[in-house]
Every structure is written in structure tokens, then in C-alpha cells.
Symmetry: C2
Subunit: 456 residues, 2 copies
């Protein structure tokens, strides 16, 4: 949809809201449909069952489901597009999907469910013995879940030689040591596409280790990179098969790289009962016949708060507007542009790509191996000082926005593609800016090294 198409659709949306208010008095107060009606409509209209394969001309929504509370959180829309197994779908009647506010809240939710399940299975356990497992590359959502729940978080170190991914052996050793000390592992948060460097934990190895620890919940956080699974060719890299085989829960944010505005954090679980067993509070005042009969899914028992917004509509709008092929094109373009960016870096001798480009992310730093010619050797400390100066120069500019990270002590710069309108020209412009600042930073550091013999 182009800008003028958006203007037309936007005016129509405003008109519909006005029509609604003009007719409000004549509308019934209570919805005239029964819970479950929308699923039936979907199943009889195959073209609406899944996200359309191609872009729809204009946006139409034949069945406006906003009057129907239980219509929220259509897990099939996103889940089928990503290739998730049927056992994660609401239609399985055992697993299910729900839109959470953020990946961090999804992480808290699964930690609550896992803790609750563990405590039911081990009534003698003390909360003080429970441990959440993450790696040094896990997003701070892991540490935050520990802070919120007041539980211990064990951060497992990962190695540069493994591209900062968690290996089965490191997990096994840590679990054995901790269990030996009386600790009780109950959940591990693995990552597909870490924030720092796009690392993908070795889910197959992790799954094999966890066979010996059946009480440990495996949550796979793919907040940023999960959307790549919409493209069949990236499902291997994103370890979809292992996710379907081993993950107890899986989450990805459609609001990061997935075209949908914040917030649309998708969470799927293998067993929805683990959520409701942990979180269901249904006071008399909110009970309905359908709830009692189990016909309605009450999503408030699937997340932290009790109220929720109707977010699935915007997911539907975007998938309908782009179509699955359009969505894939967006992902593929992001990855192609990042590959192009990485190819530019490779031609610049004083820049080192720190980890292999992952999806649409490249992590790099200045390593003046080509032109460095001083009496002082290049220590890691000097490199970090050089790169901090380089990044400070980039940060002072208003025409580019990059972020920093530290990978096992190495200060690095992150370059991520993901915006809808980014083209080759934007990459070229970005590269010119980066090169310009790199050359100045390198020159500055040489002057400083020359004048002070090694101390920048």
C-alpha cells in the first residue's frame, strides 16, 4: 500500500468510526454472536483461514471481530506463517498461542508457568532453590524475569568460537554442578538470534541434554529473528525443527522486524493448561456460561494482567495487506541488504566483522591490522578505546543511528536492517558515513599513540 492508498483507507476508517457513533444508539448492547462463531466462519471460508498468500487490493475485513472478546489472539495467523507445528496451535486443544505485550512479559509468563508446574510436581521445593538459566548473551529479559519473580538467575558463559551460542555441553556441566549443590533448575531461556550478535543457541543439543531433566521448561526467545521463519530457506538457520521438537514455549515479536507496530509479541506454548493452572483467577463477577463450559478461551489467564487490548486485528491487517509473500519479501530484502553491507565492510581492511552476519544484523569493529604501524602493540584494551571513540563519533551524528555491544569483552558496533523503506541507497549512504568516521577515528588514534607511546 502506498501513501495515497493509506490516506484513502485512513479516511475510510475515520468514516466508519463516525458511522458507528451515529448508529450506536440503534446497536444492541450485547454481541449478537456466540463465542466460537469466528472460528467457524474462518473454517468455512478457506480464503480467510490462513493469511493470504498475496497482497490484497485494499483492506477489507468482512468479519469485524472486535465485538467478540474471545476472538483476540488468533494464533493461527502468525503460527502457520512461521511453520510452527500444529501442537502449538489453539486448534490442537492442548497447545496455543497468545499475543503478549512484550517478549519480556512473555518470558515472565513462562517463568511463572514453569515455576508453578515445578512446585506442583515438587511440593517440597523451596523458592530459594529454584534457578532460571540464561546465557551471557540472553536479552536482559532473563535477568528481569528473575528480578520480578525474586528467583535466582544463572548466566552461562558462551564462547566466541561457538559464535556466542549456547552448546549442550556447557548446559549439561552447569546443570550437573547446580543440582549437586541442591539447586533446582526449572526453566532455561534459549535464544534464536541474540540481541548482541544474532547468535542462535544450539537447540538440538540443548533438547538432548534436557531429556535428562524432564522438569526443566525450554523457552525459546526469538524476539527479533523469529519472523525469518516465514521464509522456508531460513528455517534451518532459525532451528525451526528443533523448536517444534523440543521447545515448551516459543516467542517472537512481530513488532520488531515483522511490520507490525508495537506491541505484538507472540507466544506459543505446547500446553496451554500450564498457563491457566498457574494464572487462572476467575471471580464470580466475570464468570460466563461459556467460560464454565470451556468453550471460550479467557486470555486473561494466559498473561500477567487481567485486561488486554484487541491486538490481533492489526496483525490481520498487516498480513492481509502484505500477504505472506509480501511479508517474506520484506524479510528477504532485509537479509539481502545486510549481506550487501557486510560485503562493503569486507573490502575495508581496518574493519573486522566480529561474528558471521546473522539474518539482518552485522557486528563489527575497527581492527587496524592493515595500517597500524606503531611501537605499541594492539592490545584488546587499545582496540576497545579505539572503537569506543569510533562509536562516540557515530553517535554524535543525527543522520545515522547504530548501537553498541560488548561481546566477551570486545566493544563492537551493531548494524541492523529492518525498516520497511530501507534500500541499497540507504546502505550506501550509511557505509559512507561509517567509513568517514572510521578513517577519522583511526587517524586520531594514531596521533594519540604517536604522542604518548601507547596510551590513547
Amino acid at each position: 500500500m502506498d501513501i495515497e492508498g493509506f490516506r484513502k483507507a485512513g479516511y475510510q476508517a475515520i468514516d466508519r468510526i463516525c458511522d458507528y457513533y451515529y448508529s450506536l444508539q440503534k446497536l444492541p448492547v450485547v454481541a449478537q454472536v456466540q463465542p466460537g462463531y469466528l472460528a467457524k466462519v474462518y473454517h468455512t471460508r478457506l480464503d480467510a483461514l490462513a493469511a493470504p498468500q498475496r497482497e490484497q487490493s485494499g483492506i477489507q475485513l468482512d468479519e469485524q471481530p472486535s465485538m467478540h472478546r474471545a476472538g483476540d489472539g488468533r494464533d493461527g495467523l502468525g503460527g502457520e506463517t512461521l511453520g510452527l507445528g500444529d501442537h502449538f496451535m489453539n486448534s490442537s486443544a492442548e497447545g496455543g498461542g497468545v499475543i503478549q505485550t512484550t517478549a519480556s512479559e512473555a518470558c515472565i509468563v513462562v517463568c511463572v508457568a514453569a515455576r508453578s508446574l515445578y512446585m506442583r510436581q515438587h511440593p517440597d521445593a523451596k523458592l530459594e532453590e529454584l534457578v532460571i538459566y540464561t546465557t551471557s548473551q540472553t536479552h536482559s529479559l532473563g535477568v528481569k524475569a528473575g528480578l520480578v519473580l525474586g528467583l535466582e538467575v544463572r548466566i552461562i558463559d558462551v564462547k566466541a568460537e561457538d559464535d556466542f551460542a549456547l552448546r549442550g555441553e556447557a548446559l549439561r556441566t552447569t546443570l550437573e554442578t547446580d543440582v549437586g549443590k541442591g539447586k533446582r533448575p526449572f526453566i532455561i531461556i534459549a535464544t534464536v538470534g541474540t540481541t548482541s550478535s544474532g547468535a542462535v543457541d544450539r537447540l538440538g543439543e540443548i533438547g538432548e541434554v534436557l531429556k535428562e531433566y524432564p522438569s526443566v521448561w525450554l523457552h525459546v526467545d526469538a524476539a527479533w529473528a523469529g519472523v525469518t521463519m516465514a521464509c522456508p530457506e531460513y528455517r534451518g538457520t532459525a532451528r525451526l525443527e528443533d523448536i517444534n521438537k523440543f521447545a515448551t514455549s516459543f516467542g517472537t515479536n512481530f513488532h520488531k522486524w515483522g511490520l507490525i507496530n508495537f506491541d505484538a509479541s507472540m507466544l506459543w506454548v505446547r500446553n496451554r493448561k500450564h498457563l491457566t493452572d498457574a494464572l487462572d483467577v476467575t471471580p464470580e463477577i466475570l464468570r460466563s456460561q461459556q467460560h464454565i463450559a470451556g468453550v471460550v478461551i479467557d486470555y486473561r489467564n494466559w498473561h500477567l494482567g487481567l485486561g488486554r487490548r484487541f491486538r490481533s486485528l492489526k496483525v490481520w491487517f498487516v498480513l492481509r495487506s502484505y500477504g505472506v509473500e509480501g511479508f517474506r519479501k520484506h524479510i528477504r530484502e532485509g537479509i539481502a541488504l545486510n549481506e550487501y553491507f557486510a560485503s562493503l565492510l569486507r573490502d575495508f581492511p581496518d574493519i573486522s566483522i566480529v561474528t558471521p552476519p546473522s539474518f539482518a544484523l552485522t557486528v563489527f569493529r575497527l581492527v587496524p591490522c592493515g595500517s597500524w604501524d606503531h611501537s605499541a602493540p594492539i592490545t584488546e584494551e587499545l582496540l576497545n578505546m579505539l572503537n569506543r571513540a569510533f562509536y562516540a563519533r557515530l553517535s554524535a551524528r543525527s543522520d545515522i543511528l547504530l548501537t553498541q555491544t560488548v561481546l566477551n569483552g570486545m566493544f563492537c558496533v551493531r548494524f541492523a536492517v529492518g525498516a520497511t523503506r530501507t534500500t541499497v541507497e540507504h546502505i550506501d549512504i550509511a557505509w559512507e558515513i561509517i567509513k568517514e568516521e572510521a578513517l577519522i577515528a583511526l587517524k586520531d588514534s594514531e596521533l594519540k599513540v604517536d604522542s604518548s607511546q601507547g596510551v590513547i
Copy 2:
């Protein structure tokens, strides 16, 4: 603003979005303002400092603050309108306000902060000893906070003769008993305007009792009724003075009765450091100069998730559109309409108002004292069966939506006013429907009692 005014403003908003996309390429990537700029603008433009007293003609937003992350969550807008003390405002540099997603999430947040504070003060405490206090009338958010955090929740019974409000004496007795058993009270969730019946806990008495328990955090949940404090004449009923004197934190939902669309759940705390001490995770990647210097408030350390939406803008739009006087008018009209409704009930002999009408809520049930003339006495059980049948009739209709509640065993019907467009005519129509169904329910029950001698 009328419907055509909305249409005009809506078109303008769509046009602005289109203009934004047309000019996107020319805009700087990084915000051209420094953190704190908005507060300075506000302080130099007194007309924009507080919510306007009168409705603004058209909606204008001179300083569009969306580029400025720290501009989110303007606590002053709502807090000053409600009459909260300065010590709850961000400007106090000690307290502060933040928009949370729901009152239930706000409740989890304060429980986390209170637990974290308690555990720092009592390093020998075990999580298993901690207790959250609520009453039998507290919203299920209290029980849910306990489920999420895995902590014990003590539900204190309240009495019909106290209009279902928590009294100081009941709290004192419960605390003494629990502490005697080795329990560790760390937070009490009191309510101003319970969901069931609009009860207002006796905050003054509670505050006095808590002087003997300085480690117990007092959270006041006024999710529904807090907005009445915008009107000076209801501040006494809503116990504003006690809130300002005793509450450690206070929350109200502007998305319930406060004209703002879900979600806009306001939370104020007396000491913001208690939130950040409990929740701050700032990884290297997200650090900024301003954060390090303490200039920027990072609201992600004030709530459960790490991301957040920019919700203060809609609060600002609504308060600017209505003005404080317009906002008060809306609240006053709701309360007046409820008083009118209650007066209609009082003229109907077989209906009993169960608790005094509270703000815009009336709780009632059928008590056929006038016309009941059977051999079977009216037991509580029979009354509940009668009222369940009455409510079932009301629920089967599509032209009215009422909710049920159970107050110390009494099944009751709730009538709440709060929608923007409700008028006297709507109350009259509702009353005709309620009367019609009441008469049928009463007649049906007489027939059943007659035919089966006491068993409805």
C-alpha cells in the same frame, strides 16, 4: 467534540501521517532535542503545564513529544487533576508517576518493589514467609499478584455492617496473628471503590495500624473510583487526604471511567527508587550518557516489561479536549445518573439496595418483602435462587448489560454508569427493562414456590 468535529480531526491526523511519510527521508534519524527539553517547554509555557481547565477548540499539540522516549508517562497531567500530593510527582525527584498497562500489572509491580525492599531490609527472610494482604472484596488482581509471584495471599473478611470496607481493627488482628505464626507481612492492597460494591477501605484506620508495621507497603487501588478525585467534592469520600498521608503507592485507571481508551492505568509511588532498585536491568547496549547521569527517567525500570507504548499522548489529547472542567462534568453526570437510578429503585418495594450507592455504582437484589405471601419463609438460599433467575433473565437480553456479584453470600446485581453518552433517557429505559424482568422473576418464583412448597 461532536462526531463531525472528530471526522475533521481524524482526516487531519491521517494527513499528518501521510505528510510524515512523504518527508521521512529528509528528517534526521536521531531526535534533535535533549532529554528534558519537554519539561522545560512545559515550565515556560504555563498554559501547557497543567491540563487546561476548559475544553480546547479543536485539538492541537504544539510540542509533539513522540520522538522523546523520556517524555512518556507525564505524571503531572493526571496527578494534579486528582489532587495527589506533590510527593507523588516526578517533579519531587523522589516520588513519581508512570502509566502501566492495567491495574493488575501495577499491583504486581508494587508487590515486586515491596518484596524487594522487604528482602533487602530483612536478609534472613524466606519467600515462603511473605504475605500479601487483601480483603474478600479486593479485585482478583490481589490473588493474581500472589499467583504470579508465588507468594501467599491473606484474604481478610469484611463485614456488611461496615459496607464491606476493611477496618483497622480487622487488619491489626490479622497482622498480629500472622506475625505470631512467623509470617512476614510486606504489603497490603487496600481499595477505594471495590468492584463488587464500591466499598472504600478505611485508609485512615489502616494507616494508623501500619505505623506499628513500618515494613508493610500500603498500595491503594482505586482502579475504578480514583477518577472521582478530579472533583473536589468527592475527595472526602475517596479519602484523598489519607492517600496523600499514608499510601506508599496509588493507582487508578483512566481507561475505566476516565474517558481514555484502554489502556491508561496510572500508578504513583512515594519513592521511585523502590521501583528501580527492584527492576532496573540496563545492559551495555541500552546505556546512554543521560541514563548514566540520571537525567533521563527510564520507565522500563518502573514496570514489568522492557518495552512500552507512548500512551501519555492520548491522556493529553483527552484532557485537552475535555478540559479539567469537562472531565469533572463527565464524572458528576455519572454519579448524578446513578443517584437518579437509585431513587427509582427505592420506589419499588420488592427491590433492596444492598449497599449505599457508591459513586456511579448501585448494587441491588430482589427481596420480595412486600408481596411475598407463602407458607415457605424467605431464606437467603431462596433469595439467591430468585436473584439468579432474575439475573439470568436480564443476561438473556441484548438491550442491556448488567453484571452480577456475591456479597458475603448474597447474590446481587450491579448497575454502573460510566459511558460518555449515557443520559436520563437511558436510565429510564434500563429501569423499565429491570422492572419488567423483576416482575416476571417474582411471579415465576411465586408459581414455583406455590407448586413445590419452598423449592424454587
